[in-house]
Symmetry: C2
Subunit: 151 residues, 2 copies
DNA sequence: TATATATGTCAGTTATGTTGACGTATATGC
DNA sequence: GCATATACGTCAACATAACTGACATATATA
């Protein structure tokens, strides 16, 4: 196998293992709450953009409303997410984390943040910027992602 | 929100979107074969390590033998993977890709390789090394991963 | 010979996604 | 104001890929 192949294979594999460990830690915590990764995604993006509309969340997650409906229903019923009607557009339901939701979100995000910061610290100067750049260029349509992420 | 938080959140999100797009392209191809991401993982790691034993594959994938059994069964029945008994240890079944399996593996890996190389090319000098370094430091137990990956 | 290891299989469950159909409320364009 | 589009919700059926638990068999090793 060529050197190029070996090197790219290393990237493919590290990407797989890193993503697994990155999500695995959160998965363990979520388990104690009876939630899964789908709940995490919802909590995360609602936390990032309070008063986000359901259709906006669907566009980010790229899943069907039926799939989201199930997890959102649980999160609302169990008091982690609050829903309100948009005053400007009565069709929209705006989603916000409750106190409990925000607390869980912080717990999960804090762990993942620490993992990233640890990796940055061990990877030398400028590695953080390079890491983000490579990830950005691996994404098909960066423009379609919520504004805040586009620098 | 602090600058640190915003920056780390960007990493969390880009990691999520990049991984989704990275796997999504392969998922589409696999669909045409009636396979899923689980089949891809098996094909990939068998392709990387021909004559790998089932228990070694299980250790890499960290799934149960029942889960692997299903996808492996399909791959063998449909002629993508070949199984042989280890001469040195008759309990072991060694797994190798057939001609068809190797062809599918190349198709999938080639797409992912191109995505990574494109991202490298757009990310400036040294970004590739930094990218790998950060990923490595995000992994819990790098040592447990198959030897070849440890440089 | 006893025990550990490697593999396979059967059965039932869970999480997360899908499609398709249908209903309702609200907004918008002509 | 009426037709159409958008936003949301819900019911039902289904698919994939993971899980646990139980049990069986063959082979290796102490």
């Amino acid at each position: 196998m060529s050197n190029r192949d070996t090197n790219i294979r290393k990237a493919i594999e590290l990407f797989f293992f890193a993503y697994r460990d990155f999500t695995g830690e959160a998965d363990t915590i979520l388990d104690e709450y009876g939630f899964g990764r789908a709940h995490h995604r919802a909590i995360y993006f609602i936390g990032r953009s309070p008063r986000i509309a359901v259709h906006e969340l669907l566009a980010i997650l790229k899943i069907t409303k039926q799939s989201l409906g199930r997890v959102l229903g649980q999160l609302i019923t169990e008091g982690y997410v609050r829903q309100e009607i948009d005053e400007k557009d009565g069709r929209r339901r705006l989603l916000t984390l409750t106190k409990f939701g925000a607390s869980l979100e912080r717990l999960l995000t804090e762990r993942q943040s620490q993992r990233i910061e640890k990796a940055y610290a061990l990877s030398g100067k400028g590695a953080d910027r390079s890491f983000l750049k490579v990830l950005e260029h691996m994404i098909d349509d960066l423009g379609s992602i919520h504004p805040e992420i586009r620098d």
